[in-house]
């Protein structure tokens, strides 16, 4: 039996073979395995040079300058460094933060922790398609707001936020630093750190055919300061101590350089997404979460009326690999808080599937997915009978 069709590219992507080869070159005795902080010999210098090349590749891909790239273990660490780093550094200027209910937990959980420590957090509610209007941010800013954290591309429904408009609101305020979680953005839509006007931006490698375990925080040279969260070595200008993982940085750098290919793929992926949506809509009782014109082409999120979510996922599992939402939410089994924030009731939020497409997705994969979901939805509706809509 063939493996299920992989349609969970929003959770993670396979590493591009070219990336894997470049990473492997940094590991063994014949490769560049040296400690990049070892300036006293050629091994260290060679590794350091690779790190800086990767830093340049990442910066070039997202409209930043290399000196703005701080390596981290992933977007979660970058989000934590941004939120706690700003909150701590500017604690005497203010203790108010603005974010959205639809943020990833890597942003929401640090905000909740800061609430426990005495900060105040305003959680904005998006419209029914997941969009946060800049005027909402403006209305939430207070005199002592020090941070606004809004994601660029939502990880569950793919909605793209107008970051530049929100940045203008923050700039007008003066004291509010804008942090953008852009873990899902690279390779899916244009990312231009300088043009967006954000102070901080979190990036991830494994969403874009790079390795897991590496990411970066972009820290604007235009006047934002951070307190470090870890100490010991002073790497990354003291913001993130610890020996840099050469192979991980090299993998992220090359993955970001190759990500240009993914943008070229947008038209093909949009066609696949609409093909899938047409197939699922034909079932009836299918609700598209998020509006196509506001979403990246690599994501489709659909709820199915009259179907219980856990059973739906179990039924399609032999045929397709999808999720009901964020990978971390899959672990908890909780209904999607993102969909509930859009105004969906809990039952509809529970019966959603997130389809993520990527470089290796084909039309036949989409057709297999339509067939698998159709079979499951019709069977589960049949099991509950006509009563299911009335109970």
């Amino acid at each position: 039996m063939s493996r299920p069709v992989y349609l969970d590219y929003a959770a993670t992507t396979p590493v591009d073979p070219r990336v894997a080869a470049a990473m492997a070159n940094c590991l063994a005795v014949n490769g560049e395995f040296g400690n990049p902080a070892s300036a006293s010999h050629d091994y260290g210098e060679a590794a350091s040079a690779l790190i800086e090349t990767a830093r340049t590749q990442v910066a070039a891909r997202v409209g930043a300058i290399p000196q703005e790239v701080v390596w981290t273990s992933g977007a979660t660490e970058a989000d934590n460094l941004a939120i706690f780093g700003v909150a701590h550094y500017y604690r005497d200027q203010g203790r108010h933060i603005v974010t959205a209910r639809t943020e990833h937990r890597a942003v929401l959980d640090p905000c909740r922790e800061l609430e426990r420590r005495g900060w105040r957090v305003t959680y904005l509610s998006p419209d029914s398609s997941g969009v946060i209007d800049a005027s909402q941010v403006a209305g939430a800013l207070q005199a002592d707001t020090v941070l606004v954290s809004v994601m660029h591309v939502n990880n569950e429904i793919g909605t793209i936020q107008d970051i530049a408009a929100i940045a203008r609101v923050c700039a007008a305020h003066g004291g509010a630093k804008l942090h953008v979680d852009a873990a899902q953005s690279v390779g899916k839509c244009t990312v231009d750190f300088a043009a967006a006007g954000a102070a901080l931006m979190s990036l991830s490698a494994h969403k874009v055919y790079g390795p897991k375990g590496v990411g970066a925080l972009l820290v604007s040279r235009r006047g934002v300061q951070l307190s470090a969260l870890q100490f010991g070595g002073g790497q990354e200008r003291g913001l993130r101590s610890g020996t840099l993982a050469t192979h991980q940085a090299v993998g992220m750098g090359l993955a970001f350089e190759l990500a240009n290919d993914a943008e070229v793929d947008a038209q093909r992926l949009s066609a696949l997404r609409e093909r899938l949506w047409r197939g699922l809509a034909a079932l009836g009782g299918a609700v598209r979460n998020g509006r196509a014109e506001h979403c990246v082409p690599q994501l489709l999120n659909v709820s199915f009326e009259g179907v219980e979510g856990e059973s739906l996922l179990a039924d399609v599992r032999p045929h397709i690999a999808v999720s009901t939402g964020a990978a971390c939410s899959s672990i908890s089994g909780e209904p999607s808080y993102v969909l509930r924030a859009l105004g969906h009731d809990e039952r509809l939020s529970e019966s959603s599937l997130r389809f993520g497409f990527g470089r290796f997705t084909s039309e036949s994969d989409i057709d297999r997915a339509i067939a698998a979901v159709a079979q499951a939805v019709l069977r589960l509706r049949s099991l509950s009978g006509s009563c299911s809509t009335a109970i």
């Binding site: 009259g306 219980e308 856990e310 059973s311 179990a314 039924d315 089994g333 039952r347 529970e350 589960l380 049949s382 099991l383 509950s384 009978g385 009563c387 299911s388 109970i391």
Partner: protein, 123 residues
């Protein structure tokens, strides 16, 4: 969520799905979509023996699998208030996680609701 082989088998190949009609058929239901589980049993009872059973269910794979198993194993048994197996036995048989035991009580309530009509009323 991990499921036992038995749970997956009954979830994916659930038989005894549907409704019964006619004299001697008793229907009971419990739960709701809001609760995350709804179960209905139709039991055809004659001379104190369950002749046939059918079910419908909305819920997780455990809810569907256990309901299917109960309906399949009901036929031929005595019409009693108790399920063919106790909730504790069913829980063990299908490796139902602790947090889902409430779903089994909904199945039991649906069964008892159907049996309420089938059993002779005392007093």
């Amino acid at each position: 969520m991990q499921y036992s082989d038995l749970t997956l088998r009954y979830f994916r190949t659930a038989s005894a799905v549907g409704e019964l009609s006619g004299p001697g058929v008793f229907r009971g239901a419990a739960g709701s979509r809001a609760q995350g589980a709804w179960v209905q049993f139709d039991l055809a009872v004659s001379a104190g023996v369950i002749q046939a059973a059918r079910f419908r269910a909305f819920g997780c794979p455990h809810t569907i699998a256990v309901s299917a198993w109960v309906a399949e194993h009901a036929a031929g048994g005595a019409a009693l208030a108790a399920l063919p197996e106790s909730v504790a036995e069913l829980s063990g048989r299908f490796a139902v996680p602790t947090e889902k035991r409430g779903r089994l009580l909904i199945i039991e309530d649906a069964w008892l609701a159907a049996m309420t009509g089938a059993l002779p009323q005392s007093g």
